[in-house]
Structures are given as C-alpha cells and as structure tokens.
C-alpha cells in the first residue's frame, strides 16, 4: 500500500550564516492512510518543525534545505502556490498547541468556521453558517447554536481546541497534523480531545501525525511512533515494539525517565538522562546522543544517523545495539557495566 505521507531525508536550516544552523537533519517517516503516527521528542528534537514542513509552514528564517515530502505520490515541496493552497485546504489540516492564539480574537467562532467553508468549499453564506454549527456539534461542543456566536475568549481551552479541530477537519482532509494539541490542556480535557481525534479517525479514515513530548498521550492513540532527538529520527516502529523492546538507548532512557503513577509510595528514584539536549549551534560528530549515552563507544563518533532495521518495520539509528537479542533490563545493565 502506498503511504499517504512519505518524508525522506528532510533537512531544515535556520539563519543566513555559514555554516547554517541545522534544526532537522535527515529525518524520515511514513504515514499510511488511516494510520495514527506519533512523533515524540523533547525540546530541540525538531519534531515540530518536521510536522510543519509537511504543510510548508516553517517560520522564517527557517527553510527546508533538502529532502522530499510526498503526499499521495505528489511532491509537496515542488508545489506551486495554487497547488499548495489546494493541498492545505482540502488534503491536509493542522491543529496547534495553543488554541487561543490560533483563533482570531475579534471574530465569532461561527464566522471563522464559515469563512473556511465559503473559501475552501464554495458554500453560500447562509449554508456555511448552518454547516458551521453542524461541525461544532460534530466535535462535541454542547449547545452549538449558542456557542457558535461566542468569541474565542469566552470559551475554555478545551472548547477552543475542539473549534480548531472543527476548522481543520471541515473540508475532510485525509491527513491531520496535530502539533502538541493537548499540551496546554489539563488532564481530563486532554483525554476528551484525544477521544475526539480517535473518533474522527475511525469515522472518516483520516490519518494523523501526532507530535507530542508526552509518552502517555502517544501511547493512548498511536499505531506507530517515531522518536526524534537533536534533529534526527533515532527510532521508528510499532508502538508495542518501542515500549517493550526499544532498541535505541535514548528511547529506553526516555521511557525510564517518565514519571509513573505506580511509583506512589515506593522509594524508587528515576534516573534522568544526565546532561542536556543539544542546542541548535552544537555540532556533534557522529551520534548526537553519544554525550549522554551509557552505551557509547568510541566508534559512535563516526556513525551517520541513518536508520537501519532491527526487524521489518522497526528501525533504529544506533549501530551499537546494546539491547539486541531482546535483552532484558538486567542483561543490558550487565552489558553496560562490562
């Protein structure tokens, strides 16, 4: 089956100095139709930029310097302005972290949704207004006729996020790009929004690229996951594989560092990852994770960050493979101490 979205060798640069600052380097991933792919990483990982590059929405002074982005076989990076507008209007939609600044504060909700319907779907004014209310209902907003007349500041964060989802999915795109959609919401609202996204996915067969720094969110809804660090994709595979048998030291360390409810009452101390994620200006030879990696070898300074398969469908950028042969935790620890 041809992937709906294929990103290969993506490179995003900033600034006009020489050498330029590289925020994303050689990133690649695929999204099949109807699939939910998670993109997880911490600050500086490049996950947000990768997501935005699909819509070519990289803020200046950034730019895509290399790589290809194919949507249903078509090259997004080569699209003309008209084709791009078509693409953004009908094929792909995007929702962001901060729903407040993504909605225009001086227009009513109904009018903002109606505008996209009139412009992208050519609806008449009255039809668009009526449909806007339907869309609000479709995303689970109670009392939609009244709420449609509200201004953004009169709605709660969760409501605004639902409005954004309604806006983004109004023209039934085949791909939804979600850039940290639940980060600014509290935990109960977060659960509702994730439920909504899953419902839309099931009803419409819409694929989702979900960017988050929160493993819990990723684990609730994603089929496959790509892990990014320092601008590179370091591991990619099915959700279960990453949880039970992560092959990249960063993925494992990250999973170990996540706080767990079950820790309540126990004296366990979670190991963080020593050091800090690399900054934009740090030029690191070889593996970008090496300075913080427990399993680093001298040869790690010479590797490229290319992904190689562990088993079909599960790839890692770590050639050392300290966890290979499905090592259990104690095995890998023994190997590390050796």
């Amino acid at each position: 089956m041809n992937p709906l979205l294929r990103i290969e060798g993506l490179r995003v640069e900033f600034g006009s100095e020489d050498p330029p600052l590289v925020a994303v380097d050689g990133a690649g991933l695929t999204v099949q139709p109807g699939e939910v792919v998670g993109l997880i990483g911490e600050s500086g990982s490049g996950k947000s930029l990768t997501c935005r590059s699909v819509m070519r929405l990289i803020p200046r002074p950034g730019r895509v310097a290399a790589g290809s982005i194919e949507f249903d076989g078509r090259d997004v990076l080569a699209m003309s302005a008209d084709e791009l507008r078509e693409f953004r209007a009908h094929e792909a939609g995007m929702i962001y972290q901060d729903p407040f600044s993504s909605l225009n504060p001086v227009f009513r909700i109904r009018d903002q949704i109606a505008e996209t319907l009139r412009v992208n779907l050519d609806m008449s004014k009255s039809k668009a207004r009526a449909h806007a209310v339907e869309l609000l209902d479709g995303v689970g907003i109670p009392d939609p006729e009244r709420r449609a007349l509200a201004y953004p500041h009169e709605l709660s964060g969760g409501m605004r996020q639902r409005v954004m989802i309604a806006l983004a999915t109004a023209s039934r795109p085949r791909l939804l790009l979600a850039d940290e959609p639940t980060t600014a919401l509290d935990v109960t609202t977060q659960a509702q929004i994730l439920d909504l996204l899953m419902r839309l996915r099931t009803e419409r067969g819409m694929a989702v690229l979900l960017v988050s720094h929160d493993f819990g969110v990723i684990a609730q809804v994603c089929d496959r996951v790509a892990v990014m660090y320092g601008g590179h994709v370091v591991e990619m595979g099915p959700l279960e594989a990453l949880y039970n048998d992560a092959q990249h030291p960063y993925t494992r360390a990250l999973l170990e560092a996540v706080p767990q409810l079950e820790s309540a009452g126990h004296a366990t101390r979670r190991p963080g990852i020593a050091g800090v994620p690399p900054e934009l200006t740090d030029v690191l030879p070889g593996c970008v994770f090496k300075p913080r990696c427990r399993y680093a070898q001298p040869s790690c300074e010479a590797i490229s960050m290319e992904l190689a398969p562990v088993v079909p469908g599960h790839e890692t950028a770590c050639p050392v493979r300290p966890f290979a042969h499905s090592g259990t935790q104690s095995e890998t620890q023994a190997r590390a101490q050796a």
């Binding site: 900033f14 600034g15 600052l21 925020a23 911490e42 600050s43 500086g44 947000s48 930029l49 935005r52 803020p59 950034g62 972290q97 901060d98 850039d179 940290e180 980060t183 988050s212 720094h213 929160d214 900054e279 934009l280 200006t281």
Partner: protein, 299 residues
Amino acid sequence: MSAVDVLGAPGAAGGQVPAAIPRRSRTHGLRGLPLQVKIGGGILALLVIVAILAPLLAPYGQNQLDFDHILSGPSFSHPMGTDSTGRDIFSRTLYALRVDLAIVVAVTYIPLPIGVLIGAMAGYFGGIVDAIVSRIIDTMIAFPFMVLVIAVIAIVGPGVKGVLIGVPIVAWALYARLARSEMLVMREQPFMLATTALGYTRRRAILRHAVPNLMRSCLIYSTLDMVVNLLLLASLAYLGLGAQPPNAELGSIIADGQSSLLSAWWVATLPGFVVVLFGIGAGLLGDGLSDGRLRGEVQ
C-alpha cells in the same frame, strides 16, 4: 530585555522555532550589535564629536561678519556658503549644533529617570497611588507642549532657559506612562513575585529589579524623544523665541535664510540637512535597539 521578551518560549514542549541561544553569537562588546545600531550610533557620535570640537573645527567665528562675501554659495572657503551678513554658515552651524545638542540631551535625559521612577512606582503599587499618579500623567500629556513652553518663555524671557524649564515639566510624563504600563505587566512575572517571596523590600524590588528591566524601552523611546526635542528647539528658535542673536541656533539660522530661500537656498537648507541627519541617526539607533534581539539570538 524588556518584560515582554522575558515571556519567551512556551516551555519544554512548545518551541516550534528553537529558543536556543547560539553560543557563538554571544559576543561581548561592539561586534554583535545590529547594523542599524552601528550606523545610527555612528552618525550621532559624529555629530556629538563635531559639536564638542566646534571651536576647533570652525574656520570662522560664529558671528564673524564679512560684508565682502554676503550670500555667496558653497565654496571651498565656505563649505555651506554665507548668509546675508557674510557669516560662514558652516561655522554657525557647528556652534549651533553645540548649543542645541547640549539642550536636547539635557531636556531628554533629565526627565527620563524621574519619569521612570514615578511610573515604576505607580505601576508597582497600584491602587490609589496609581490612580493619582495616572491622572497627573494624563493631564501632563494632554497639555499642548508648545503652548506650555511658550508660556514659560513668556515668564522667564526668551532664550534657552525657557526650553530647559518648560520641556521637562511635561516630558517626564511620557516616560512615566511607558514605565508604568511595562511595570503592570512585569510585576506579575515570576521573577518579580520572587522578590516578594524572597522577603525583599519593595524599594529593592523596584530599584534593583524592576527599573533595570524598564530602562530598555524607555531608552529606545528617548531616541525618538531627542529628535522631537530638537525639532521643538528649532521651531522655537525659528519663531525667535530661542537663543537670542547673536548666538547661533539651528532654527534661527534657518529662519534667517527664509527670506532668501529662492536666491540663496543654502542658508536655510544646509543647516536643515544637519537636523535631518540627526533625525536619521537617532531613528536608526532606536530602530536597531528595539529590534528585540541585541546580540543575534535566534528568535
């Protein structure tokens, strides 16, 4: 870094554009400054130096009459030509610049700290203090500037005294308003709340912590203010209310040249260019400083 800059990146998860500080751009000294700051600052510095050294640079005295060469055009011996009494305009301009720049600096930078302090206190304390101070500020700003200055001149007599007294009476209010509105935002910032939580006195919080952060936008504003004040000064001199003859002031030189504008254009226009040059320099400096990223940080 103004209060707004502090709000910065939205935490670990946000950062669609990396909020990192490129280490190699953390230059100290002058190299990292944006181009506008360098050019604007350079122009102003040049004018200031020229003004200070006027007695050394001026080829003639400011009131040296020479009836053999009235209204002669720009030439090698008179780079800006001469006026109707044969005085060298270039020399006059240099001396005038001296007087005018001195007044402008005084009249801009004396009210600044006063206004910042008053505005900071009003913003910090809020309540009735703020209410009273705000009303005073509003009144001062609503005042027609020129009218007040002319009224003061009517009392103390023409000359630079009038401007030196009249302008600061009102000018502090603009800085106070600016400082106050920034303070209203800044006092809710965690680092300001921390000063209370740390048990610091309010005096320390305002003077040591808030004011240094407020100064930036006020200083940027002051570059604009300087230009306004220079134009005010020139306008008053043009009206004959400034420094009295025979002392040179840019405005009076221009006024003198008005009657011969068509025949001896240089008398009015060339000194006028100096005023324009000052405006360009101050404007570039202000623009460059307000760019937000002083040392090439990635936004």
